[in-house]
C-alpha cells in the first residue's frame, strides 16, 4: 500500500482490537447495585427505556441533530469512528484512515462484511451518500452539517475506500465523524423520501427500528445479522443479548422516576438530582456520563450594553456565588466547573481565579465603569438607565434545579446592584429571543466531540446568523487573535501544538470574562437492579445496550 511521507495516524486492521469492554468511551462511571461483573450474560428480554426528553420528530439524526435523537439513534446506527476508554479516536465502521501531507485529502477505508438493516452492503458509496445527505439543505441538518463543513468533494477509489477532498486542513474531522449525528445509514435508505427515512432509518447497529408508535414508544428489535467491528472472542454470538428495546417518552420527572421504582421501566435518563444521590440506597444503579464539548455555562452578551464593558462582565463574575447553590440544588451530584470545555475533553483548561466571589471587587468595578448611582429599589443606574440583565431561560434546556440556580443568582446579584430579569420560555420563543439579540445572559448547551467546539462557539464567524437567525457565538466574541488561534488549531498536524493553541484560545476567552462555567453537561442514567452490563457509551456519552442483559 502506498505510504505518504509524514502521514499521521495510520490505523490498520492489523492492530489487534481490544475486547469490547475496553471500548467504554468517555469518562463514564457506573455504580452497580449487583456485582454484575460476576453475572453470566443471558440472552432474552426486552429493556424498557424511558426518556425525559421531548420525542424527536425524526429518528434520522442527520435531520436536525439534537441529543434525544443521539440517545435513541446510538442503538441502531454506528459511526465511522468512535472513542476508546482513554478517550482516543479509533476507527469503528472505518477500518483505516490516512491524511495527505498538505492535510487536504483524507482517505477512509470501511470494513468489509458489514450490512445495513435493509440488506445493503457497507461500501465506500455509503460514505459519499451520507456526507452528501448531511450537506444537502433539504435534510435540514444543523449539527452534522457543521461537522462536515470542510468536505468539498468525495472520490470513490474502490469498493471500500473513499477520498475526501477538503477545502482546508481539518484535524477535527475524525472527531466529527465519531458522533451519532454523522452516523452512517444505508444509501438505499437515504434515497427514500424523508418521512420514510425518519420513521425507520437503516443503520448497522445491533438493534433496528421495528416500529414507531408516536407518543407511545419506538420499538427496537435485535438485528440478527449484526457484525461487530470489535471482535470479541469471549462472546458466544455477535448479536445483542437483549431481544429488543422499548424506547418510551415520559416528560414528567416525578412520573418517570415512579415508573422506574415500580419496575414499569428499566432505565431512565434525566433523573432529578436528589434521586441520584439516593440511588444506591434505593437499590438502583447509576451511570454518570458527562457530555463532551462545552461545559454548561452562562454566556454574557458582549455586543451591547451593559456587558460591552469588560469591567461590568468581571463585576458580574464576582457578585454571584453559585457553588453553594450548585451543591444544595444538585445534592452534590454536580461538580463546579471552571473550564469552557467538558471534563471529558483532555485539552480543556480551568481557571478558578477568575470566578471568586468578591462583592467588594464587584462594587469597585461597577463604580469604575460609571454605574455609581442607585435607584429607589437598590439597583444601579447610569444616565437614567437601570443595570438590567435580560435572561431568557429555555424550559427545554434548563432542568428545574438549574432554573432554581438562576433564581438564586438573581437574588445574589441584587445587593451588588444588578437586576436580572428571568424569562421562562418555550424552545421556539427562546430561539426567537436569541435571534433578536434580546438577551444579556444565556445558557445554551453545545455537545460536540473535541475542542473544535471552541471555534464554533467563539470564532467571530459564528456571530453571523444562519438563514434561520441562529448563531452559536452567544457571547459575541470578536477577537482577531482568538480567531487566528482557533483556525490554526484545526489545521495543525502536531498534537502538542494543537494543545498549546487551544490552551491560549481558552485563556483569552476566560480572561475576557465572557463566560461563567457552571458544571459539566449533566448526563445521568438510573437503572433497576436487574439490568447488567451498563457502562458502554458512544463518543457523545450516550449509552449503548449491546452488552446489556436482563435477569428477570
Amino acid at each position: 500500500m502506498r505510504r505518504n511521507q509524514r502521514a499521521t495516524r495510520l490505523f490498520t486492521g492489523a492492530l489487534a482490537l481490544p475486547l469490547a469492554a475496553a471500548l467504554i468511551a468517555g469518562c463514564s462511571s457506573t455504580n452497580d447495585p449487583a456485582a454484575s461483573k460476576d453475572a453470566e450474560p443471558v440472552a432474552g428480554g426486552t429493556l424498557v427505556y424511558a426518556s425525559g426528553d421531548a420525542e424527536p420528530s425524526c429518528l434520522d439524526p442527520h435531520v436536525g441533530g439534537n441529543y434525544p435523537q443521539a440517545l435513541v439513534a446510538s442503538q441502531f446506527m454506528e459511526s465511522l469512528f468512535t472513542k476508546d476508554a482513554e478517550g482516543k479516536i479509533i476507527p469503528w465502521l472505518a477500518e483505516k484512515t490516512e491524511v495527505s501531507t498538505d492535510g487536504l485529502t483524507r482517505t477512509i477505508t470501511v470494513r468489509d462484511g458489514i450490512t445495513f438493516h435493509d440488506g445493503t452492503k457497507l461500501t465506500s458509496e455509503a460514505i459519499k451518500a451520507n456526507i452528501e445527505h448531511l450537506q444537502n439543505p433539504n435534510t435540514a441538518s444543523s449539527t452534522g452539517y457543521l461537522a462536515v463543513g470542510k468536505v468539498d468533494r468525495i472520490k470513490l477509489v474502490d469498493e471500500l475506500t473513499a477520498e475526501l477532498k477538503l477545502s482546508a486542513p481539518d484535524n477535527a474531522l475524525l472527531e466529527s465523524l465519531s458522533m451519532p449525528w454523522t452516523a452512517i445509514q444505508s444509501p438505499q435508505g437515504l434515497k427514500r423520501d424523508q418521512a420514510a427515512n425518519c420513521a425507520a432509518p437503516a443503520g448497522t447497529g445491533p438493534f433496528k427500528v421495528e416500529s414507531w408508535d408516536r407518543q407511545q414508544a419506538v420499538n427496537l428489535v435485535r438485528y440478527e445479522d449484526y457484525v461487530s467491528p470489535a471482535a470479541d472472542a469471549e462472546r458466544a454470538s455477535a448479536t445483542s443479548y437483549l431481544d429488543g428495546i422499548t424506547w418510551r417518552f415520559i416528560p414528567e420527572a416525578a412520573s418517570r422516576y415512579a415508573a422506574l421504582q415500580s419496575g414499569e421501566v428499566d432505565v431512565i435518563d434525566n433523573p432529578q438530582p436528589d434521586t441520584i444521590s439516593t440511588a444506591a440506597d434505593n437499590g438502583l444503579g447509576h451511570l454518570d456520563a458527562p457530555r463532551p464539548g462545552a461545559s454548561n455555562r452562562l454566556e454574557l452578551n458582549s455586543s451591547k450594553a451593559p456587558f460591552d464593558d469588560v469591567r461590568v462582565r468581571e463585576a458580574f463574575m464576582h457578585s454571584v456565588d453559585v457553588n453553594s447553590g450548585i451543591n444544595s440544588l444538585y445534592f452534590n451530584t454536580a461538580k463546579r466547573s471552571y473550564s469552557l470545555l467538558s471534563s471529558v475533553e483532555p485539552l480543556g483548561i480551568s481557571d478558578e481565579s477568575k470566578f471568586t466571589t468578591d462583592a467588594t471587587k464587584a462594587n469597585e468595578l461597577l463604580d469604575a465603569a460609571g454605574w455609581t448611582q442607585r435607584d429607589s429599589e437598590g439597583y444601579r443606574v447610569k444616565d437614567g438607565k437601570r443595570l438590567t440583565l435580560k435572561f431568557p431561560v429555555s424550559t427545554n434546556q434548563s432542568v428545574p434545579a438549574e432554573q432554581s440556580l438562576f433564581e438564586q443568582m438573581q437574588a445574589a446579584a441584587k445587593p451588588v446592584g444588578f437586576e436580572i430579569k428571568i424569562e421562562l420560555l418555550d424552545l421556539s420563543s427562546w430561539y426567537g429571543a436569541l435571534a433578536k439579540h434580546e438577551y444579556d445572559l444565556v445558557s445554551a448547551p453545545y455537545t460536540k466531540v473535541g475542542p473544535s467546539v471552541l471555534r464554533i462557539l467563539f470564532h467571530s464567524d459564528s456571530t453571523v446568523p444562519a438563514p434561520s437567525g441562529y448563531f452559536a457565538n452567544n457571547a459575541q466574541v470578536k477577537d482577531p487573535k482568538l480567531d487566528r488561534l482557533l483556525v490554526d488549531a484545526e489545521q495543525t498536524n502536531d498534537e502538542t501544538e494543537r494543545a498549546e493553541l487551544y490552551k491560549q484560545a481558552q485563556q483569552i476567552v476566560l480572561d475576557g470574562y465572557y463566560v461563567m462555567p457552571l458544571y459539566d453537561q449533566q448526563n445521568h442514567f438510573l437503572y433497576s437492579k436487574n439490568v447488567h452490563g451498563m457502562g458502554q457509551t458512544t463518543a457523545v456519552s450516550s449509552p449503548i445496550y449491546y452488552n446489556v442483559f436482563l435477569d428477570k
Binding site: A254, Q272, S328
Partner: protein, 265 residues
C-alpha cells in the same frame, strides 16, 4: 343570606383582599430571600409551611403569591363579565338576526374549553400573564352572556319596564337603570363561582410553564416547581395547592349563599 353567613363571607373576602394588596401585614418577611443552607426544611415553628429548594419561606411566598394568583382570576372574570354584559344585552335587545349571530359567536367561544382556548391563544402570542387573562376571560364570557341575555329578555316584558316606557324614559335610560342592575344580581352569584375556576385555570397555565415568570410566588408556578420534589418535600406543593382550593371553595360557598345555583361556567 343569614347574618352569620354574611359576616363570614365578608371576613373571607376581606382577608384575601388584604393578602392580595398588603401581604406584608400578614407575612412580613421577604418572599424572595434565598438561603441555600436552609433548603428543604419541613414545616416547623420557624417556618410554619417549611422552606423550598432555595431556602425561601413557603408561608411568606404563599401569602405574597395571593396577589399574582388572584389577579389573573379576577381580571379574567372581569373581562368575561364585561364581554358578557355587552354581548348579552345586545343579543337580548337586538333584532332577531343579530341575536342569532351573537348566539353563534357565543357558541363558538363556548365550544372550545378554557385550557384549550388558552393554549390556542398562546400558540399565537407566546406565553404570559396577558394571554392567560384573555383566554380564561373569553372562555367564561359565553356562560355569563347567556344568563344576562335570558335575564334581560324576561325583564324586557316586565311591568316595571312598561311603567318606565309609559313615563317616557328613553331606551338608554331604561337599559341603564332597570335592565342591567336586575340582570346583575344572579350574575354576581355566578361570577363568584367563576372566580374560583379562573384561579385554577390560571394556575394550570403556570403549571404548564405558560404563565407568570419567576421568581414570582404565583401559586400555580409554586405547585409546578414543587411537583419535582414531591417525594422529598411534600409541603412545597401542598400549601399552594391548599390556597387554591381554599379560595375556589370559599368563592363557591359565597356564590351559593348569594343564591346562585350551581351552573356551568
Amino acid at each position: 343570606m343569614s347574618r352569620t353567613a354574611k359576616i363570614l363571607s365578608l371576613l373571607f373576602i376581606a382577608f384575601w383582599v388584604l393578602t392580595a394588596f398588603v401581604p406584608a401585614l400578614i407575612a412580613p418577611a421577604d418572599p424572595l430571600a434565598i438561603n441555600p443552607s436552609q433548603a428543604f426544611q419541613a414545616p416547623s415553628g420557624a417556618h410554619i409551611f417549611g422552606t423550598d429548594e432555595s431556602g425561601r419561606d413557603v408561608f411568606t411566598r404563599v401569602i405574597h403569591g395571593a396577589g399574582d394568583s388572584l389577579y389573573i382570576g379576577l381580571a379574567a372574570t372581569a373581562l368575561g363579565m364585561g364581554l358578557a354584559l355587552v354581548l348579552g344585552t345586545a343579543a337580548a335587545l337586538a333584532p332577531r338576526w343579530l341575536d342569532e349571530v351573537i348566539l353563534r359567536v357565543l357558541e363558538a367561544l363556548y365550544s372550545v374549553p378554557s385550557l384549550l382556548m388558552a393554549l390556542l391563544i398562546i400558540a399565537f402570542t407566546g406565553p404570559g400573564v396577558g394571554p392567560a387573562i384573555v383566554a380564561v376571560g373569553l372562555s367564561t364570557a359565553p356562560g355569563y352572556a347567556r344568563l344576562v341575555r335570558s335575564q334581560i329578555r324576561t325583564l324586557k316584558n316586565s311591568e316595571m319596564l312598561e311603567a318606565a316606557t309609559v313615563l317616557g324614559r328613553g331606551t338608554w335610560r331604561k337599559v341603564r337603570n332597570h335592565l342591567v342592575p336586575n340582570a346583575l344580581q344572579p350574575l354576581l352569584a355566578l361570577v363568584t363561582l367563576g372566580i374560583g375556576q379562573a384561579v385554577i385555570w390560571a394556575a394550570a397555565l403556570s403549571f404548564l410553564g405558560l404563565g407568570t415568570p419567576p421568581p414570582a410566588p404565583e401559586w400555580g408556578a409554586m405547585l409546578s416547581a414543587g411537583r419535582t420534589y414531591l417525594h422529598l418535600a411534600w409541603w412545597l406543593s401542598f400549601f399552594p395547592g391548599l390556597a387554591i382550593v381554599v379560595v375556589a371553595a370559599g368563592a363557591t360557598l359565597i356564590g351559593r349563599a348569594l343564591g346562585g345555583k350551581v351552573k356551568a361556567i
